[in-house]
């Protein structure tokens, strides 16, 4: 897949056009348009405060929970406008999962953390089914071997890296179509990071993945497409190889070579 040829990737899963986000008066995202491919990893990079998280949160309408936040423009998930009046954000979030920047497991057991999503969406009616979902998600998140003997222990008792993998397991338990990951590795050591990157590579077969990262190497390693954000504007969006070898914008060039940010 990492041949840099966008046309070979899956179809467009999410397509955003002219998205603007305002926090009260502050204009945080300015006219961003982007097409996110299915069964591929798209990376968002850019200096701190440039609006990566804000844009990511538009895709599952998490910004709805912020009173002062206003989103305009259109975002289509498989051709459907997610901001339409008739769309229930709860329904949307079941299809667009999210892993947050800071690990935030529920203060419940490890098992319940993973089982919660499937339970509320009625994906499993009996215990064996639920057990199977929990096991497979924990395996996919490369956490099963570490926690299989203490599934009833609180998820908050795990280490930071384990918590983040637990959050990934929780996010994929609802079988979303799109997985949004906001700096999933910022709290992880290199080994756990490598695991998560492997995981992302595997998950790519089934989901469209959007990952925000501050690590240029990580973006280069895991993604097929990369978008560079700067001061609320999407400066450049292209194949990852192209961005990292031959960016067309001066600002991108400066950023990836470490001249600012």
């Amino acid at each position: 897949m990492k041949d840099g040829d966008g046309a070979l990737m899956g179809d467009t899963k999410v397509s955003a056009t002219n998205v603007n986000v305002y926090y009260g008066e502050a204009h945080a995202i300015k006219d961003v348009s982007v097409e996110i491919g299915d069964k591929a990893v798209t990376a968002f990079i850019g200096p701190s405060g440039c609006g990566k998280s804000t844009f990511l949160r538009c895709i599952n309408r998490m910004n709805d929970t912020i009173d002062i936040c206003r989103v305009t423009g259109s975002i289509l998930l498989e051709g459907e406008d997610i901001n339409a009046k008739s769309v229930d954000p709860v329904q949307l979030r079941a299809r667009v999962g999210m892993v947050f920047q800071k690990p935030n497991p529920f203060p419940k057991s490890i098992y319940d953390n993973v089982a919660y999503g499937p339970k509320i969406h009625g994906m499993a009616t009996n215990k064996p089914d639920l057990d199977a979902i929990v096991e497979s998600c924990l395996r996919k998140a490369a956490l099963w071997d570490e926690v299989k003997d203490r599934l009833d222990k609180p998820g908050t008792g795990l280490s930071g890296g384990q918590q983040q993998r637990l959050c990934i397991a929780r996010a994929i338990a609802t079988s979303p179509e799109v997985l949004l990951m906001d700096e999933p590795c910022s709290a992880l050591d290199p080994i756990a990071t490598a695991r998560v990157e492997e995981l992302i590579d595997e998950l790519r077969d089934s989901f469209a993945i959007v990952i925000v990262t501050h690590s240029m190497q990580q973006a280069a390693r895991v993604s097929q497409k990369t978008a560079f954000f700067h001061l609320g504007v999407m400066v450049e969006y292209d194949d990852t190889d192209k961005i990292f070898t031959n960016p067309s914008d001066k600002r991108t060039q400066d950023y990836i070579t470490g001249r600012f940010g």
Binding site: T65, R93, F100
Partner: protein, 437 residues
């Protein structure tokens, strides 16, 4: 970085520079203030508790006199029906006669010596005949036999036995005569005079006779009110807080509501009493002096406390938990009820119990709605006339007799006991539900 001034350093770590000295002195002063403040607070607490216990401890014992009563069939129930009904109806004075007879024969006094007999009769509580009637009604099979029964002694006898009336005082200046004291000594020698645990304190209602006055009715009244408060204030308060904290838009109206709720918590409690009088009694026509009305008034008083505590504990739940729940596709309501509320529970419960404890000790609004009545019978429901523990304390505190003084303190001890139990419950609940996140 050269332009940042280097701090002036002491030559050695151990050197005491003037600034260090000043800092240490300031610290020592601050600690001294703190210790002084705590000592003052502790001193008053100890002084308060020790006076209450010193005055009240004796009320937990009550002097009783044992008499051998001949439960004569022809006096109790000449028709020989031997039913509880027959026992309860009829002339109450027949019971007094039986008690007197037993007392006089115990003391070996000739019933015809009327003056001596009258003095002897005063040793036994005026409530003895009612006690005997109730005793027989429960032990119908004992009619026609002789039974040893413990009767409460008169309040004066009790005070004398507890040493609050001194024998040294001149006879004319104390309420108990020398001959009566002699009779008591006689009873004591026969083992027929004892101080026993005062169960009556917890079972009797109000009474003008100190020995048959207890906090039983007041305790039941307080309990009904607490139930009303718990049943109304907890759900209403928690629902209101959840709505305000999690669902309501933040705008001028909700700000206004918030300010008003905070102000409501500071409204003097007697104002709630006036409100209750005007609304619940005069407008809705609910019965006066009823625990239901008292409970409603206390609910109004407790609501702001519960709402403020609940909102604070909801606020304390980290937003990341809500985001996590919403992120996996939970609805707002699911996020609140599955994740936020359980985490806020310890705070909510603590706030509720503190609110209840405040309500339990509240007197002024209850006076306004007529709960200051003389309630001799234990109320059988929340609409019966009732009184409350603090009101009972207030009423007893106005009585001059020594026996009521000790009962006032005893009632305070009971009230403090309940508050202690509630606070311990709050702590245990908090411990039990506390979770890390």
């Amino acid at each position: 970085m050269a332009d940042i001034a280097a701090p002036r350093r002491a030559a050695s770590l151990a050197e005491v520079t003037p600034s260090l000295k000043k800092r240490r002195a300031a610290e020592a002063r601050f600690k001294a203030y703190g210790i002084a403040a705590i000592s003052v607070a502790l001193f008053f607490l100890v002084a308060l508790l020790s006076t209450v216990f010193y005055n009240g401890a004796s009320a937990f014992q009550q002097t009783s006199i044992r008499l051998t009563v001949d439960l004569k069939q022809d006096v109790i129930d000449p028709q020989g029906r031997n039913t509880a009904d027959a026992v309860m109806t009829g002339n109450v004075f027949r019971w007094g006669g039986l008690v007197d007879e037993a007392l006089l024969s115990q003391l070996g006094i000739d019933p015809n010596d009327e003056l001596l007999a009258a003095d002897a009769q005063k040793l036994i509580s005026g409530g003895a005949r009612i006690y005997l009637r109730d005793y027989v009604a429960e032990n119908l099979d004992q009619i026609g036999t002789k039974q040893e029964i413990w009767f409460l002694a008169d309040g004066v006898v009790d005070a004398f036995m507890k040493g609050s009336i001194s024998e040294e005082t001149e006879e004319s200046r104390r309420p108990i005569k020398d001959r009566q004291i002699a009779m008591l000594r006689q009873l004591e020698e026969a083992g027929a005079l004892e101080k026993k645990f005062n169960t009556g304190l917890f079972t009797f209602g109000a009474s003008s006779r100190a020995e048959t006055a207890g906090v039983g009715a007041a305790m039941v009244g307080s309990m009904y009110m607490m139930l009303v408060v718990l049943a109304l204030a907890l759900p209403i308060g928690v629902a209101a807080s959840i709505y305000l904290e999690e669902f309501a838009p933040k705008n001028r109206w909700t700000d206004l509501i918030e300010v008003n709720i905070n102000n409501l918590a500071a409204v003097p409690s007697i104002v709630f009493g006036i409100l209750g009088l005007a609304v619940f009694i005069n407008f809705f026509g609910l019965p006066r002096s009823a625990a239901l009305v008292g409970g409603l008034v206390l609910t109004l008083m407790t609501l702001p406390t519960i709402i403020i505590a609940t909102r604070a504990s909801l606020k304390a739940v980290p937003p990341s938990i809500r985001e996590a729940a919403l992120g996996v596709g939970a609805s707002k309501m699911q996020a609140v009820f599955h994740h936020v509320l359980p985490l806020a529970m310890p705070g909510i419960l603590t706030g509720t119990i503190i609110g209840l404890a405040q309500a339990l000790g509240e007197t002024a609004p209850l006076l306004m709605i007529g709960m200051v009545a003389f309630i001799a019978d234990i109320p059988s429901g929340p609409t019966d006339p009732a009184t409350a523990l603090p009101v009972q304390i207030f009423m007893w505190a106005n009585m001059a007799e020594r026996a009521f003084v000790e009962r006032t303190s005893a009632a305070i001890i009971v009230l403090l006991g309940f508050l202690l139990i509630m606070n311990v419950t709050a702590i245990l609940l908090r411990k039990r539900f506390e979770r890390r996140w």
